[in-house]
């Protein structure tokens, strides 16, 4: 039996844990300088458990298999003009939002995990972070590859990285990751590994991918599932780091609880974009935001926090605020984007009659009461040739950077408005969660790069709307922005399918 293959646990021990050595001539604190400043106490890194026990040789083997499957399908999609088979051209705007808003986060995650992996004294955690870092780089690359095909046929894809660093609504996801990456290594792991990957990523990827599957977008389903196949490992790393910190020292519990409270709320606010995508941007609907929120947040996070209760960890108090918003969030977000449709690098539109009926059915308590009347008014204006675009710039929340358009859930027609004064200046917030986060670290958040403030300070290309949108954001004005109706995207789509534009149909009918 001497040539017997090693079992998985032994192989993992030899190829991961056994790579560590004793530090004999350098101080541990000098090598791992960032390990202690956040107040997290680690007494024994050998207690770290990697549930998947993945070694580098197996990692390459299975990642290569995933890539081969993915690229075979991307080739087939391009060769068969897959872009013509999506449900309708409005759908592609969900993909524009993904490329400009989400894919650059994968790159940020790659940087972040490469950095924090270096900071941990435990070899198991270092190897797991290294693998996740490589995964994230693979995700951003495959997403850019997959969506480059859409860039040949639709507007709004061409300058995604430039836009991500500048455009007002993209500062919401960008600042979320900047916030995480400028924290210490353990807070980063709670922010991204636990809150984002474990608790929230299902709400991002699963609806996007099922939505793509229902809307004929084979390329996105495939890159999404390929990325998601790594996600189970990331989620498990996120849960492991939490359990490890909690088991290492009781002093860690309140620190971890505060980070969980903060990062669940920060992440949930970023998912506002997903809520609106699901309810408004998919021509063929899969499930409503509310339904997916109930399955992937209320139910899944409920089970998770029950499991963590033995450590003294509780469901964050802001979860109740998120639950209270579930029947409003997507409608308020789409309203904001419809208002600022001239300043977005994707198209917006009013839902069709059929889509409004679906919204009424899915949101019986809120849609007809609060949102349908507004939409009907906007539609009337549109039909009169006066499509509404809001010419003023909105006030932004200092923490999440979303325009202050959310309402008070006790009184859903009133704007939710909180404020704090710090060092003689007044700061504005959309919610208790965002205000508390600021109040705990004001010296961090007073530095936020708020797009609206930057425009007013003259730092974004000039004083006119065209200077900001065209010169500074690099939008192709008249092509990337404005309503879907009348856009070059619509014209091309109609030409491919020999369809009449909606306006011509109306003219003929009248």
């Amino acid at each position: 039996m001497s040539n017997r293959k090693l079992n998985m646990k032994d192989k993992y021990r030899l190829l991961t844990r056994d790579l560590e050595w004793e530090y004999s001539y350098q101080d541990y604190e000098e090598i791992f300088k960032q390990e202690s400043f956040e107040g997290i106490k680690i007494t024994d890194w050998s207690k770290w458990e990697d549930p998947f026990r993945l070694t580098m040789d197996s990692y390459w083997k299975y990642q290569a298999e995933k890539e081969k499957k993915l690229y075979a399908i991307l080739d087939a999609f391009a060769q068969n003009n897959g872009q013509q088979n999506v449900a309708d051209a409005r759908y592609v705007n969900a993909i524009k939002l993904f490329l400009t808003g989400v894919s650059p986060l994968e790159y940020q995650a790659y940087n972040g995990f490469a950095h924090v992996g270096r900071q941990f004294g435990g070899v198991g955690a270092r190897v797991a972070c290294q693998m996740q870092s490589l995964d994230e780089l693979r995700h951003v690359q495959t997403q850019i590859h997959a969506m480059s095909h859409y860039n040949k046929h639709f507007d709004g894809f061409q300058d995604f990285a430039h836009m991500h660093d500048r455009v007002w609504y993209l500062s919401v996801p960008k600042s979320f990751f900047d916030d995480a990456r400028s924290a210490g290594p353990f807070e980063f792991m709670v922010a991204i590994g636990f809150s984002f990957e474990y608790v929230l990523t299902n709400l991002l990827f699963v609806p996007f991918m099922s939505g793509a599957a229902y809307n004929g977008d084979m390329a996105t389903v495939t890159f999404g599932f390929s990325a998601q196949s790594d996600e189970a490992r990331h989620m498990t790393l996120g849960l492991e780091i939490i359990k490890f910190m909690l088991e290492q020292h009781p002093d860690n519990v309140p620190i971890v609880q505060r980070w969980i409270n903060k990062w669940l709320w920060r992440g949930y606010r970023v998912l506002t974009l997903v809520a609106m995508m699901m309810d408004y941007m998919l021509p063929n609907k899969v499930m409503s935001w509310q339904e997916s929120f109930e399955v992937y947040f209320e139910e899944a996070a409920g089970s998770l926090f029950k499991d963590l209760a033995r450590y003294g960890i509780e469901m964050p108090n802001y979860a109740a605020d998120a639950i209270a918003e579930k029947e409003h969030l997507s409608h308020q977000a789409w309203g904001i984007f419809y208002n600022y449709g001239h300043a977005a690098a994707f198209h917006t539109w009013m839902p069709t009659d059929q889509e409004m009926d679906w919204l009424s059915e899915k949101y019986p308590n809120t849609f007809d009461k609060y949102y349908r009347p507004r939409y009907e008014e906007w539609r009337k204006m549109e039909e009169a040739g006066e499509r509404f675009y809001n010419p003023t710039l909105p006030m932004l929340c200092q923490t999440c950077q979303i325009p202050m358009g959310f309402t008070d859930m006790e009184n859903p027609t009133m704007t939710s408005y909180k404020q704090s004064v710090y060092d003689g200046e007044r700061y504005n917030f959309c919610s208790t969660g965002c205000k508390d986060i600021f109040d705990h670290e004001p010296e961090k958040y007073v530095q936020s790069w708020l797009p609206v403030h930057q425009i007013y300070q003259g730092n974004c290309g000039g004083a006119e709307m065209e200077d900001v949108l065209g010169e500074y954001y690099k939008m192709n004005l008249g092509a990337d922005n404005l309503d879907f109706k009348g856009s070059p995207d619509e014209a091309r789509w109609n030409a491919w399918h020999n369809l009449e534009p909606a306006e011509d149909k109306l003219k003929k009918a009248s």
Partner: protein, 89 residues
Amino acid sequence: MSKVYIALQDNEESRYIVEAIEEDNPDATVIYQPAMIRIENEGHLVIKRETVEEMMGRDWEVMALHVNLITLGGNVDEDEDQLSLTWND
């Protein structure tokens, strides 16, 4: 007791994995969704290499599960013979 869950891409390989899960976890619920299959169970779910191999009629490594995996919920324990998901409540 909370539910653990696992979701797999809906494809030819997963079909056998799902059959094996059903055999080893008779109380589990299998839900077919667009392009994916979600399996959930109260408290505990196990995927056994031996049963999957029997269904597929060939050798199969537990790690190969990752190729078709979409998401999961629960504490994971994996070795060469099985992958299990549990909640400790």
